[in-house]
Symmetry: C2
Subunit: 201 residues, 2 copies
């Protein structure tokens, strides 16, 4: 019984979707991204096939390739649409801020989002376009966390003459490493404590 990825009884069966003239049909975009997300949820990211996306979205492959010329591009689009964001706290303690950030991110990464992110990192090795967007995304995250460090510096918790991104990068590096090694469940308290402490000798 080959259930396949078909889904004839889809909720919004808009009969047939046609051209709406000489411009991109937003319904088509939605249908395609929905289909891709569904397939990923079903079969995992490694099981995402362009043909299956087109079939499930009832879209032509030509249409699919017109707007998302590669698997990586499609992957990124799906991820960005559902991208959850960590909220950067301001508890008055760098340790607490770091810890909340790290735990939030770990929680987000446990499950589907982590798989997504890992797949994007993997894809970035062969797709320069994905690599660049990943780099931007990372830089953005890094800067946001660096702002937390800057606040700590302003409070006088840690030396003011250091680059705030340094600590931020160490935090994020730890988390990347844990994610890619499937060790998100291990403790991070000691690490965070070390990174939150003043290190004047």
């Amino acid at each position: 019984m080959t259930t396949e990825t078909e889904d004839p009884d889809h909720k919004e069966n808009k009969k047939t979707r046609h051209s709406i003239g000489a411009k991109k049909n937003p319904d088509t975009e939605t249908a395609i991204l929905d289909a891709a997300a569904d397939i990923i949820a079903e079969k995992g990211i490694g099981g995402l096939r362009m043909e299956a996306v087109a079939r499930k979205a009832k879209a032509g492959k030509a249409t699919l390739y017109r707007w998302w010329p590669s698997r990586g591009a499609l992957l990124l689009a799906v991820y960005q649409r559902k991208k959850p964001s960590v909220c950067y706290r301001d508890t008055g303690s760098l340790y607490e801020d770091f810890l909340h950030f790290a735990k939030d991110l770990i929680e987000i990464w446990q499950g589907e989002n982590g798989l997504f992110f890992k797949a994007i990192i993997a894809e970035s090795q062969s797709d320069p376009d994905v690599a660049e967007k990943l780099k931007d995304y990372h830089a953005e995250r890094l800067e946001a966390l660096a702002a937390v460090v800057t606040r700590s510096q302003q409070r006088g918790e840690i030396p003011q003459n250091e680059d705030p991104t340094t600590r931020a990068e160490l935090v994020i590096g730890l988390l990347w490493q844990r994610l890619l090694n499937n060790r998100l469940d291990e403790s991070i308290d000691e690490h965070i404590k070390m990174l939150a402490n003043s290190d004047e000798t």
Copy 2:
């Protein structure tokens, strides 16, 4: 002019390679790993095809699949055969030890080895076997660097009541992050300094 990946004028043209009985022929193993390494050097890791490896090694696909059942397995085998290793120094200063380790690893990763390692990380997302071996490899590296930290603790440079792997993990996490983001060229001095300092407040 389809040059192809053929190489009829290979240095050691042992006529034809045959079975040596009911056991793995080491010549075959060598030929296959050589072929894979050559192809990777030529076309990059993403251009490694099982069929091309078999063709170039003058080996049957069945033989190839018998010993390396997946692309990832083959990749790992090639990598391990050429795996360069960092030497862990003992300069009497944690900062120096860390810095040497990091700079050595960065130098190793600049170029082909970095591509290899990234490809293996990428492959580990879809191949559980590769994932496990990567995890082992990482744990091994981590422990070796933790030994450096332990020596520092014995010298009294840093507190003795902390887990030595904590600092080691932060160092390695930084480097992984840099590798995967194509930012190996950026400075790490400040980071290392921070991780080598005593952090008693």
